[in-house]
Symmetry: C2
Subunit: 385 residues, 2 copies
């Protein structure tokens, strides 16, 4: 009974493209993730056209990045995060402010009115933790102090970016700024993260025997995966990215005594699912919209602004760790990845961006994601802790 | 950035429902899979309506059953299958003929003309290996002789069912039977299975060192998963179910020296993905179409025909193994599961079935899937090899 064979072919192509891309990248001493994103560009609509975007593939990609941040959470203890809390907070805040200011100045300078400029600038803001997390994990560097600062800052960054998007969206529609409402949203998001992190880790570190109560021999994994999906959903209800909830779920699970087994069992899940995230990220680059000198010049400019502004913000925020570490943190915060793509989609849907601006912002987001891994990997290798 | 939160909620509900259903079933000494299908009925559109069918969920379900049959293949050696080849062949052939004859007699008796009756009967034919495979795996019974006969017969069954569907579809449209064409289809499908099984296992058993050539530490798993997706797709191109290709991929991989590692790594993948298959199977039951005495009576009748006819066919085919083993094989062949659903959908789309007949055939397919696991589990426990 042939059914669903189209999607099976897409799954096969995406999966194999990821393996080939990662292998080539690693042989060139680049992080595997660069090869996976590049493979997505190649098999996607812009070049070969073998893989068309579809809802099903996007869902697989979402599951992939959720599992990835879950596994990163599994390697992160709340106590370690708290120890770097001050630096992470500074990195998160400055890493939002600097790109937002520079981004809106550029947008206004290139002809957008102020309300639209602020919306464009919002696309410069949000760091996508997935790309950096994958590089840190590939290099086994998740236990470094810089990694903890980056991960903590990514959570704060996401909360602030969410607020900012709320503000600039309200300004688009010409409404007066609902400051009281925004304060409630902020409190809810912060409260969600704090309550889940504190209560969750406390419950788990006291006793996790109940994870083994079910009959199913894989039950610790099953319960923890349910927690991961549940918190991923819950965090979207508080305006945060699904990966924030998944990261929290992993951090909670890292307090259990089954932690090592869980880390072990998560590896095959990542092997199957994360390629969909990185390859689908690559397929979203629209090369045709960028195939002229003018567009390429603008792309180079906004990518430079995006990189430099985030680097400055992160570097200044983390200066207390020393210059080298601050540089690593600054670089680690650069990737915008799929979060930039989401803001760009919102802007396109709201009529704020032209298709060309949309393509530029998406390409900028993905370029930052492509550029970061090799530089970060190089820096980490040269500066062992 | 809230995006895709609806689908995250669906994923969470399906996954948790599966865990709860499986747990309750196992506490009642039933196979977990029964609970997962029942959980699907409960959360699906017929009762709570928490989960609506969607393309993305269907793709996850497909990946789930593909991985399941892959892992069953991993526990199956070609040599073992060949040893039971004769019985498996007899079971496959008789298990198609008896249900087809009884099914078409019932359909004709209840008012369909002969051409339509044969189409209805096709829905009685195809065994769905997923349900039985899961029960055999849950009980650790995959190494029993009966299990091998069932798995071998499922492959033959699928080839014959595919041919039969080609024949009855052609008869619907009133074309003359394209016998030459059908012979080609048969030869291609048989050739595909034989070539893949023989060449694949020979290559792998000679040397599987190349599986570890890539840099990626999980590379044996990655390569073998790519093989699984590739053969799943390829088998649909030969008119066979995707799970046949996945089973062959697993069987090929079982010849490698990395077999045990692969078995180990496949477990978490099954834990994550197979619940989607069984829960989504359950959501497809349309209880509202069946909520009257007349429909329920017809349902009882056709389910009885489906069960008894397959049981007789399987039993007679496996008689050379002794009566008890033949009974186990006969029971193991009963589930129609999603294959019956596919035939029913084709019939609905071709205008051969009314929505009521469609609902009846779907319900019959799923009832056979619900009834089999407890009986099979009970028989296997009482008759240790």
């Amino acid at each position: 009974m042939p059914h669903g064979s189209d999607i099976l072919l897409s799954l096969f192509i995406v999966f194999v493209a990821a393996q080939i891309g990662a292998e080539i990248a690693q042989r060139l001493k680049l992080p595997g993730v660069v090869g996976e994103i590049a493979a997505g560009c190649v098999v996607g609509p812009s070049l070969l056209g073998w893989v068309q975007p579809s809802e099903a593939l996007d869902v697989l990609a979402e599951i992939g990045v959720v599992l990835l941040l879950f596994s990163v959470g599994l390697e992160t203890r709340l106590g370690d995060l708290r120890r770097v809390g001050r630096s992470a907070f500074a990195v998160g805040v400055l890493g939002v402010i600097v790109p937002f200011v520079l981004g809106s100045l550029w947008a206004h300078g290139s002809g957008f009115d102020w309300a639209k400029s602020l919306f464009v600038a919002a696309a410069f803001v949000a760091t996508s933790a997935g790309i950096t997390a994958r590089v840190l994990q590939e290099l086994g560097a998740l236990q470094r102090e810089e990694s903890r600062v980056i991960l903590g800052a990514a959570v704060i960054d996401d909360i602030l970016a969410m607020l900012l998007l709320g503000i600039v969206s309200a300004m688009q529609s010409g409404e007066s700024l609902p400051l009281g409402h925004l304060a409630v949203i902020l409190l809810e998001a912060v409260g969600f993260v704090i309550v889940i992190a504190l209560v969750g880790t406390r419950v788990m570190s006291r006793s996790s025997d109940w994870l083994e109560a079910p009959i199913n021999p894989l039950s610790p994994l099953n319960i923890v995966l349910a927690l991961c999906l549940g918190l991923a959903f819950a965090s979207t209800q508080f305006g945060l990215a699904a990966i924030i909830g998944a990261f929290l779920a992993g951090m909670i699970a890292s307090e259990t005594r089954q932690r090592e087994t869980l880390e072990h069992q998560t590896q095959p899940l990542l092997a199957l699912m994360t390629p969909f995230f990185f390859v689908m990220t690559g397929t979203k680059v629209e090369l045709t919209q960028l195939a002229n000198a003018d567009a390429l010049l603008t792309l180079a400019l906004i990518t430079a602004i995006a990189i430099v502004s985030k680097l400055i913000g992160g570097f200044l925020g983390a200066l207390s760790l020393g210059r080298r570490s601050a540089l690593i943190v600054g670089i680690g915060m650069i990737p915008r990845g799929e979060v930039g793509v989401v803001v760009a989609s919102l802007g396109l849907a709201a009529g704020v961006f032209s298709p060309r601006t949309y393509a530029l912002i998406v390409a900028m987001s993905l370029l930052t994601a492509m550029v970061t891994p090799p530089v970060l990997a190089n820096l980490l290798r040269r500066n062992p802790e």
